[in-house]
């Protein structure tokens, strides 16, 4: 279950993880992108958390909308509109609600995936965050949405993010590298896996975090 307060804490926690992982994400993005995924995400979510602290919002819909707007104005690359789309989908689905159960969380993730695919036009295998969001969404839809299922999604996200290493990039700046993008994890996939670690921990508790800075080159 996620209450409005718990969701705000999730955003703060995610912002904090991004600040810690900024260097790691930038390093990946330096190799197969323009080097700023960590900086952009850390900045955007920091502003989102600050805006929420100033103006918490009365329900999940309002909170998610505040985050979306902060990301649009402060992230910059493709990640801005992509992550903003996630929160806009959450906002639409959870409008007026002060808490959501696992089922509604799973629905939010499915809706967000639809939004990501429409926005970025990526397919599975293109080496993007869609490679993480798709198995997570599929996994949650294939079973009853429970806390256990939510936590299992973290493992799905983590392995999917690590598996992007072997893919050839078909989208974004990395696509300019073609085969030279193989051997490096997609930074947006890593930031998505971290997103799920924090979201599911806020919703269900007890999530073990991966030490990403050790795992990804």
């Amino acid at each position: 279950m996620l209450t409005t307060d718990a969701f705000i804490r999730f955003v703060e926690a995610y912002a904090s993880r991004l600040a810690d992982l900024q260097g790691t994400l930038n390093k990946l993005d330096n190799q197969i992108g323009d080097g700023d995924h960590g900086t952009n995400m850390a900045r955007g979510f920091k502003v989102a958390a600050e805006n929420l602290a100033k103006n918490p919002g009365s329900d999940l819909g309002a909170v998610c909308n505040t985050v979306a707007m902060a990301l649009l104005g402060n992230v910059g690359g493709a990640s801005g509109p992509l992550y903003a789309t996630i929160f806009m989908r959450f906002s639409a689905l959870w409008k007026g609600q002060s808490s959501v159960e696992s089922g509604a969380i799973a629905d939010g993730i499915s809706s967000a995936l639809e939004g990501l695919r429409a926005r970025g036009k990526a397919e599975v295998g293109d080496k993007t965050m869609v490679d993480v969001w798709t198995p997570v969404s599929d996994g949650l839809r294939s079973t009853e949405a429970t806390d256990t299922a939510l936590k299992a999604a973290v493992a799905t996200a983590t392995s999917a993010a690590l598996e992007t290493k072997s893919l050839i990039a078909k989208k974004g700046r990395a696509a300019y590298l073609g085969e030279r993008s193989v051997g490096i994890c997609d930074p947006g996939s890593i930031s998505s896996a971290v997103f799920f670690e924090e979201l599911m921990d806020a919703a269900a508790g007890g999530v073990e975090r991966t030490e990403w800075h050790k795992l990804v080159s």
């Binding site: 700023d36 952009n40 707007m69 649009l72 104005g73 402060n74 992230v75 910059g76 690359g77 493709a78 801005g80 509109p81 992509l82 903003a84 789309t85 926005r119 970025g120 989208k171 974004g172």
Partner: protein, 132 residues
């Protein structure tokens, strides 16, 4: 006054400002020009900034957007979703090279062509050789 306004969306504010300057030389005050370029002082694009600029264009014109790279397009498409219908309906995103397409569009706009003809002019820049 022209039937179309031209808005430049670029990752770089300097590119946006520079291109608008260049276009101004061609059209003077006859065509409304603006840019929604950069993310503050940083390189990037901002859907909310694009919304503001599009809403600031003359309401009796069609709004042609020319952009540089992929996420500029993504943010422009996002901006369209955030705009009121009345504005969104008048926006056309042009798939042409930024500088050359904008120059062609500006000249066509100044000649008081309708938006579809201005877009066609801009799109010729995709295949026009610059060195004869």
């Amino acid at each position: 006054m022209a039937q179309v306004s031209i808005v430049i969306v670029s990752h770089s504010r300097k590119i946006g400002e520079g291109l608008v300057s260049l276009l101004s030389q061609l059209v003077g005050n006859d065509v409304y020009l603006n840019h929604a370029a950069g993310l503050g002082e940083e390189i990037g694009t901002d859907a909310t900034y694009i919304v503001d600029v599009l809403q600031g264009c003359p309401t009796d014109t069609d709004l042609l957007v020319l952009f540089d790279l992929g996420s500029a397009l993504m943010n422009t498409e996002m901006a369209l979703e955030l705009l009121p219908d009345e504005v969104r309906q008048r926006v056309h995103i042009v798939d042409a090279p930024l500088v050359e397409g904008a120059v062609a569009a500006a000249v066509a706009a100044r000649a008081n062509l309708a938006y579809d003809e201005v877009i066609a002019s801009a799109m010729e820049a995709r295949t026009t050789n610059k060195i004869m």
